[in-house]
């Protein structure tokens, strides 16, 4: 069949088919919500929903931070360190220097972006794998922060910070809206801007992109800069949540930062990201974790159940995907297929 304009819209995979992975993930999340709600009524109490939305917000942004670098086929192991640098910088600026909150936060975000840029710059200039560079810079950034701050906590921040952290909109933390807002911006970036497309192209096939005129080095540097800024945002969200700037923030970000995007369909190899998928991925994990806690699964066994349910969830999603594909093929000429099989 040669392409003809008229056939184009018809043959183009429908929006629904394109989003089938996300719909599948969403369906699984709904399944868990139904399950947890019926088993443990406390799960949908407004207190729990608030708590859930708040931890979700941070996990989503951490996931974004890794996602934008995965887009280039690279990794950023330094997100935790960048996050804590921004956190401590904001704490210093607000508590010691007494700068207004917005100024301090903006400068902290800039610092995060700068540290990310530094990563990207060194990676591109040296040609060394991003894994190694960011492994080393994670140590460097954290170390510099410790040297400068002597690991002192800033816990006399302006009270508005903590108040904002406790704020609720119905039963949802406003932090979640910040996270979703960042998500929307990222959707625009990767779908509708040349820059986002170039980042993806560079991640999918750097050589081909380069020969097509994509400034691959620049795309990688920008992705890292963005990752740094997002890591800083996640850090600042934690400052708001905890009402203090502490040096221990960011130490446990690494795995969740990968979990959300990868569950959501972002390729580790680069070239494809799913912003909504990352949100859903983080949502799935948060749901499972919170559900198990509310269901009072034995203390020490919680990790086991978390692992098993995660496995079950990804397998469910996988088989749903295979099934959906079969169905869409089968519809075409199911009769002939059947006869072919019996032959």
């Amino acid at each position: 069949m040669t392409l003809a304009v008229s056939s184009d819209s018809r043959a183009r995979p429908s929006w629904l088919a394109e989003q089938s992975n996300l719909i599948g993930l969403a369906a699984i999340i709904v399944l868990f919500w139904v399950l947890f709600t019926s088993l443990a009524p406390g799960f949908v109490s407004s207190f729990n929903l608030f708590a859930l939305s708040r931890s979700l917000a941070v996990d989503v942004v951490i996931g974004f931070s890794t996602m934008v670098v995965l887009a280039t086929g690279g990794m950023n192991l330094a997100i935790g360190s960048i996050g804590v640098c921004a956190v401590m910088a904001s704490g210093y600026m607000m508590q010691t220097l007494g700068l207004p909150i917005p100024v301090a936060m903006a400068l902290a975000l800039l610092l995060g972006a700068f540290l990310g840029w530094l990563n990207g710059f060194v990676i591109v200039r040296s040609g060394v794998n991003s894994f190694i560079i960011t492994l080393a810079s994670a140590s460097l950034f954290l170390g510099a922060m410790l040297i400068l701050s002597k690991a002192q906590t800033f816990n006399a921040l302006p009270p508005e910070i903590a108040a904002f952290g406790r704020m609720r909109w119905k039963f949802i933390s406003p932090l979640l809206f910040i996270a979703l807002g960042l998500g929307a911006a990222l959707v625009v970036l990767f779908r509708f801007t040349a820059l986002g497309r170039e980042i993806l192209a560079a991640g999918a096939n750097a050589r081909a992109a380069e020969l097509s005129g994509v400034p691959v080095g620049r795309a990688i540097i920008i992705a890292h800069t963005l990752s740094g800024a997002l890591a800083a945002s996640a850090g600042l969200m934690l400052v708001i949540r905890l009402g203090a700037a502490m040096p221990s923030i960011g130490q446990d970000w690494l795995l969740p930062s990968f979990l959300a995007p990868v569950l959501g369909g972002t390729l580790l190899a680069g070239g494809y990201v799913s912003v909504v998928g990352t949100i859903l991925g983080a949502f799935l994990v948060t749901t499972i974790r919170s559900g198990l806690l509310v269901m009072q699964v034995g203390n020490f066994w919680l990790q086991l159940f978390l692992g098993l349910i995660l496995l079950a969830a990804v397998m469910l999603d996988r088989y749903r995907g295979i099934y959906a594909e079969r169905r869409s093929l089968g519809r075409k000429d199911a009769g002939r297929r059947a006869s072919g099989k019996s032959a």
Partner: protein
């Protein structure tokens, strides 16, 4: 390529080796520390360094094997912890003889790896997610069994193995050295070893060439689990008690060493020698920081700086070797 190797100086040939920059960095480190601190080259300090080399090396190998086929094993540490407490429990609670307990421990490690491999291959889900999930499950079993309380009463002979030494050489060094030799041989000279690298290098091509790709991936995961188990058993001997926290901080190191040693995350390219040297380098850096009485606030910073320096050196080498 062929002309390059033929008529070149020893120096150029040395530089062409992937591990040469690491070797140089290690040499620099050794000399610096020896000059800085008279204690560095004492028998006991050498023993201490060699001893802390053992577990890390096997952990790095465990990760290296999954990297070889283009996969990752995020459950190395969790599986290690599980094996550690299983071995401890078998010795303390059930009174198993040491060799039996060790064999059972290795079997548990291999079984864990097998589960990872089978799940990855059968479901077609990225190994990254599978092992992330099984890691949580393994840790859960570990904590569920122990409630985070270690097993202390291990047989004296077993604990002694973890501490005794022949001059500067700890007995503990024996298994990693044997494993390193066996692995190098396995990867270079045996059919399954080559198949492993072939699958990592180009899975599609390997499959078209009649290599059972899925089976090879399962094998890589199983071996990875086996090595994680071996590392855990050594860690128990080294620490003298079966701690549930064994393995908790293996993950980053397990990736760092093979990758600093030049392994490609995409698979198909690993080096036993370079991985071992990377571990040596890391151990020297860590030892050196204690030795040089580095201010605690500077430890992290210097660690990063030194890794970066080593990487830079390797980059320089690659450029030089390329130009030669």
């Amino acid at each position: 390529m062929s002309t390059m190797t033929r008529n070149t100086t020893f120096g150029q040939r040395f530089l062409a080796n992937e591990w040469s920059a690491l070797a140089i960095a290690i040499a620099i480190g050794l000399v610096t520390l020896a000059v800085l601190s008279p204690a560095f080259l004492t028998e006991f300090n050498l023993y201490v360094m060699l001893r802390s080399f053992c577990v890390v090396l096997i952990v790095a190998f465990a990760q290296m094997l999954t990297l070889a086929v283009g996969q990752m094993n995020l459950s190395v540490g969790a599986l290690g912890g599980l094996v550690a407490i299983a071995v401890g429990g078998m010795m303390e609670k059930w009174g198993f003889p040491v060799p039996v307990a060790i064999l059972c421990g290795l079997a548990i490690g291999a079984a864990g790896g097998l589960i990872n491999g089978l799940l990855t291959v059968r479901t077609g889900i990225n190994g990254f997610i599978i092992t992330l999930a099984t890691a949580s499950a393994f840790t859960g079993i570990n904590l569920g069994i122990t409630e985070s309380i270690p097993f202390y009463n291990l047989p004296a002979s077993f604990v002694a193995f973890g501490t005794e030494r022949f001059y500067a050489l700890p007995y503990l060094l024996l298994p990693p050295v044997l494993i390193a030799i066996a692995l190098a041989f396995f990867l270079a000279r045996t059919v399954p070893g080559r198949q492993l690298l072939a699958v990592g290098g180009n899975p599609q091509a390997a499959e078209l060439s009649g290599i059972p790709r899925d089976r090879v991936i399962v094998m890589a995961h199983t071996l990875s689990g086996l090595l994680a188990g071996a590392a855990a058993i050594l860690a128990v001997a080294q620490l003298g008690s079966a701690q549930p926290t064994i393995g908790a901080d293996w993950l980053l190191m397990s990736f760092a060493a093979p990758i600093i040693g030049g392994a490609a995350l995409t698979g198909g390219h690993i080096s036993v020698a370079a991985t071992a040297l990377a571990v040596v380098l890391i151990v020297i850096i860590q030892n050196g920081m204690v030795l040089a009485k580095v201010d605690p606030y500077w430890v992290q910073f210097l660690l990063g700086a030194l890794i970066l320096a080593a990487v830079g050196l390797n980059r320089l080498r690659a450029v030089r070797a390329g130009g030669a």
